[in-house]
């Protein structure tokens, strides 16, 4: 009566089951990768110890965004489109202008480039409490764009390659030659 052979299991519904699971995962998946502008905040300092760093006026570019989302660089009103070129000129100081930042030897020598000089310029970005986040990010974006354009020029002159073709080590060197120096100061508490 009992058959010797084990009867074959009907596997035709397997496809349906896995289809069902597949559709579940398709729906539940979030594939989007987060992207954004990366920044490092300065560590907090004791207010008593904080005497303010001695920075020469020529080494600071003051970018201020007010509560009406207007941008001023060093006291002059500018449009958002103009920020990048001003920032680039400030970072590179191509003509050796005495009003633009000076260059110094980096604190940590850069491997392979013992005589390289690095700009001392710091871009100080200030905002009001009433500034809209969108404008703030636009300004941040323009400043980042200035830095990345200076970096791609630097990689062209030092390695004779566009930035995107550089190896990890070469990129690190370019980042040491052109460090991102954006100081996000505490805002002026003018408006609520």
């Amino acid at each position: 009566m009992a058959s010797k052979k084990c009867p074959e299991i009907n596997a035709s519904s397997m496809a349906d089951i896995s289809f069902l699971l597949l559709i579940f995962f398709l729906v539940a998946t979030t594939m989007n990768v987060d992207s954004g502008i990366r920044r490092t905040l300065p560590p907090i300092v004791d207010e008593e110890q904080d005497k303010g760093q001695d920075v020469k006026e020529r080494n600071v570019l003051l970018v201020y965004v007010n509560m009406y989302n207007q941008v001023a660089i060093a006291g002059n009103r500018v449009e958002i489109d103009e920020i990048k070129d001003i920032a680039k000129e400030f970072i590179t100081n191509p003509t050796g202008d005495p009003n633009l930042p000076e260059f110094e030897a980096p604190k940590k020598p850069i491997p392979g480039f013992p005589n390289a000089l690095v700009s001392k310029g710091v871009i100080s970005l200030q905002n009001d409490r009433g500034t809209s986040y969108e404008t703030y990010i636009q300004v941040q974006n323009e400043l980042t764009r200035a830095y990345s354009e200076v970096r791609s020029e630097k990689s062209q002159t030092t390695f004779n390659k566009p930035y995107k073709d550089l190896s990890k080590e070469e990129r690190d060197i370019v980042h040491m030659l052109v460090p991102t120096r954006i100081s996000e100061a505490e805002p002026r508490n003018l408006a609520k």
Partner: protein, 161 residues
């Protein structure tokens, strides 16, 4: 051989074998199972991120913790002033330190310095709130931050070269 083919060719086409279909589906299934990251939090604020051309991708998702700021979904109940959302609930600025400490505890010792805070802020928010958040993060010593924004390549490029 040639005769054989001619003989068959005139008759109806044979049914396509579907025996490998489950295998193919399984392969897709495994791909999605592996690449899935489930949505852990229920959004309770409206997020409309700003656009930025220079947005970089977040490299290590496991090291990221998320803070959301935006107007509440339920305007009738909570009003339309932007609120901070941590995990699944609204929070005040004083809870940031606690939140960061809890997130830091989840990571391994050697990964902690690399911890990144992704702040997703609705673009209509005023900077006052973001500044308070930044100060709280500085106090909590969570210094690596990402201003989440949509990567936007279409934007005009007015560079000089």
């Amino acid at each position: 051989m040639a005769q054989n083919i001619r003989k068959k060719g005139n008759k109806e086409t044979p049914a396509v074998s579907t025996a490998s279909l489950p295998d193919i589906i399984f392969m897709l299934l495994f791909f999605f199972m592996v690449s899935t990251s489930m949505r852990e939090v229920e959004m309770q604020v409206k997020l409309e991120l700003p656009d930025a051309t220079e947005a970089q991708k977040l490299e290590k998702k496991s090291l990221a913790s998320y803070i959301y700021i935006g107007p509440p979904n339920d305007v009738a109940k909570y009003g339309s002033t932007p609120k901070i959302q941590l995990n699944n609930a609204y929070a005040s600025i004083d809870q940031i330190g606690e939140f960061i400490a809890a997130e830091r505890d989840k990571l391994k010792e050697e990964e902690r310095p690399e911890m990144t805070t992704v702040i997703k802020v609705n673009k209509i928010t005023h900077m006052g709130m973001v500044t308070d958040l930044k100060q709280a993060l500085r106090r909590a010593n969570a210094l690596n931050i990402i201003y989440a924004s949509n990567k936007d390549n279409k934007k005009r490029d007015n560079s000089i070269f």
